[in-house]
């Protein structure tokens, strides 16, 4: 039965309404004349709704005449009518087809490059390197030899230790691992001295090999030789060894900060202006207009307009949001300014002190006058300042 349904659908059928008193006779005659009708439903006493194949519709005329009934078509269904509809709206379906082809074609290009794992290396550099090897926004996926590109990038960028490129949809996901470069290692067999990396006062000098040139309590300058690897002994030839020592020293870090008491602060007024424009690849489709705010913050947000999972198309909507700012004169209390100074100084000095150093003392001095607050921080720490230096 299902097969017949499909067949009828392919041939096309009509839903007809038959009106008349001799419905039964109408049906019987249709059957006898080999006219296939189906899904016959009685609507009321004299009306019947039924379905009939298109090619049989003309043949109903005789039966209609014989049974004094009337037939009207309610609707036409099936494949031939769909075809006719498509022909009538040829341009529409043709452009629909073109769009499908276009989208399919577009999805075989790379439209977005995502780089993950780069910390110190600028993403731009990696992008440029990928560009030179042929992976860029708009390159055809079929011609990309990913293994080759990976190798070439690794050769061209020695600061990378690994790169993995994955094509997902229209995205290229590039994962990189940076080489962590330690200080240049000096081999155990090479002779070396130990010098001071910073100014400081030696608190403890533990020499494992080599001759010490300074003693505990000496103050040393940066670059000064602390332990020498050149051994001079009486009656012996001078020889050079690889010196080893642990040099603990007190060092100082200083910094200063000034904060004026009268400050101009910019506060958002709540007025926001938005501007949109389209961006196709890197070409912007509309011009950026100016804003009539005097002071403002500008935020730019880019969004991909069309993206289906991993299939991203290179049309971006760029939103420019301008927030108007209002300058306001603000007078700080002395204590507030001091707190601010302290906060900034602590944050800044923390970046300079090595992690394994021990902080012995921290001192902050404030100098206040009418206009501003000045602060000076000095931190005394205990750290290892010995650095190996090769003997030439």
């Amino acid at each position: 039965m299902f097969i017949i349904r499909i067949w009828n659908y392919l041939r096309g059928y009509a839903i007809i309404i038959v009106k008349g008193l001799k419905i039964e006779r109408f049906i019987n005659l249709a059957v006898v004349n080999n006219i296939y009708i189906w899904d016959i439903e009685k609507l009321d006493y004299t009306t019947v709704q039924a379905k009939i194949g298109l090619e049989n519709f003309r043949r109903l005329r005789d039966i209609v005449r014989k049974t004094d009934s009337s037939v009207s078509i309610l609707s036409k269904r099936g494949f031939p009518f769909i075809i006719r509809n498509i022909r009538r709206r040829r341009l529409f379906y043709f452009s629909l087809f073109l769009i499908c082809v276009f989208i399919y074609a577009m999805s075989s290009f790379v439209w977005m490059i995502e780089i993950t794992g780069a910390k110190d290396i600028d993403n731009e550099n990696i992008l440029r390197c990928l560009y030179n090897e042929g992976l860029k926004e708009g390159s055809w996926k079929g011609r990309l030899d990913i293994r080759h590109i990976e190798n070439r990038v690794l050769i061209n960028m020695p600061e990378l230790s690994w790169i993995g490129i994955q094509i997902k949809g229209t995205k290229a996901i590039v994962e990189v691992v940076e080489k962590s470069e330690g200080p240049p290692l000096i081999s155990r067999t090479d002779a070396c001295d130990i010098v001071a990396a910073k100014d400081g006062v030696i608190t403890k000098l533990l020499v494992l090999s080599g001759d010490p040139l300074v003693k505990d309590g000496d103050s040393v300058r940066k670059g000064q030789k602390l332990v020498t690897g050149t051994i001079l002994r009486e009656n012996l030839e001078p020889r050079q060894i690889h010196s080893l020592a642990k040099v603990s020293a007190r060092t100082w870090y200083e910094d200063a900060e000034e904060i004026p008491l009268q400050q101009i602060e910019f506060k958002p007024t709540g007025k926001v202006a938005r501007q949109y424009k389209l961006k196709l690849l890197d070409k912007e489709l509309s011009r950026k207009r100016s804003v009539n705010f005097k002071d403002f913050n500008e935020y730019i947000e880019e969004r991909y307009l069309i993206s289906l999972g991993d299939y991203v198309f290179p049309i971006k909507l760029v939103e420019y949001r301008f927030e108007e700012l209002e300058p306001r004169l603000k007078t700080l209390m002395v204590d507030e300014a001091k707190d601010k100074c302290t906060e900034r100084l602590n944050a800044r000095i923390k970046l300079r002190i090595p992690e394994d150093a021990v902080i012995l003392d921290r001192k902050i001095d404030y100098y206040t006058d009418k206009k501003s607050v000045k602060a000076k921080i000095s931190v005394e720490v205990l750290e290892d300042i010995g650095v190996k230096q090769k003997i030439n």
């Binding site: 039965m1 419905i23 039964e24 049906i27 059957v31 006898v32 899904d39 016959i40 006493y45």
Partner: protein, 90 residues
């Protein structure tokens, strides 16, 4: 004469276990649940409404009663009726 031939046919079909609907030219009625009735080898419909359908099955008239009865398909040798069937009479 006709009766004799009919008897003979019946005997033959009994002896050789042949399907009677083919040999004797009578209707075969298949009832599926209470929702569908298929009559093979019918002789046309006599009355058709939503509540009652009467079908000529050669030797007698079959009367179907129910609700929302409709003719799913009708061919020369087969008719399928769907709907809520309550009574079948011969």
């Amino acid at each position: 004469m006709g009766k004799r031939i009919y008897k003979l046919k019946e005997n033959i079909s009994n002896t050789f276990e042949l399907p009677k609907d083919i040999v004797l030219d009578v209707s075969k009625i298949i009832i599926i649940g209470t929702g569908q009735v298929t009559v093979e080898n019918h002789k046309g419909i006599i009355e058709y409404s939503e509540e009652i359908i009467r079908i000529n099955i050669g030797s007698s008239v079959m009367k179907l009663c129910g609700k929302n009865l409709s003719i799913k398909t009708i061919l020369q040798e087969e008719i399928t009726i769907t709907g809520e069937i309550t009574n079948i009479e011969f």
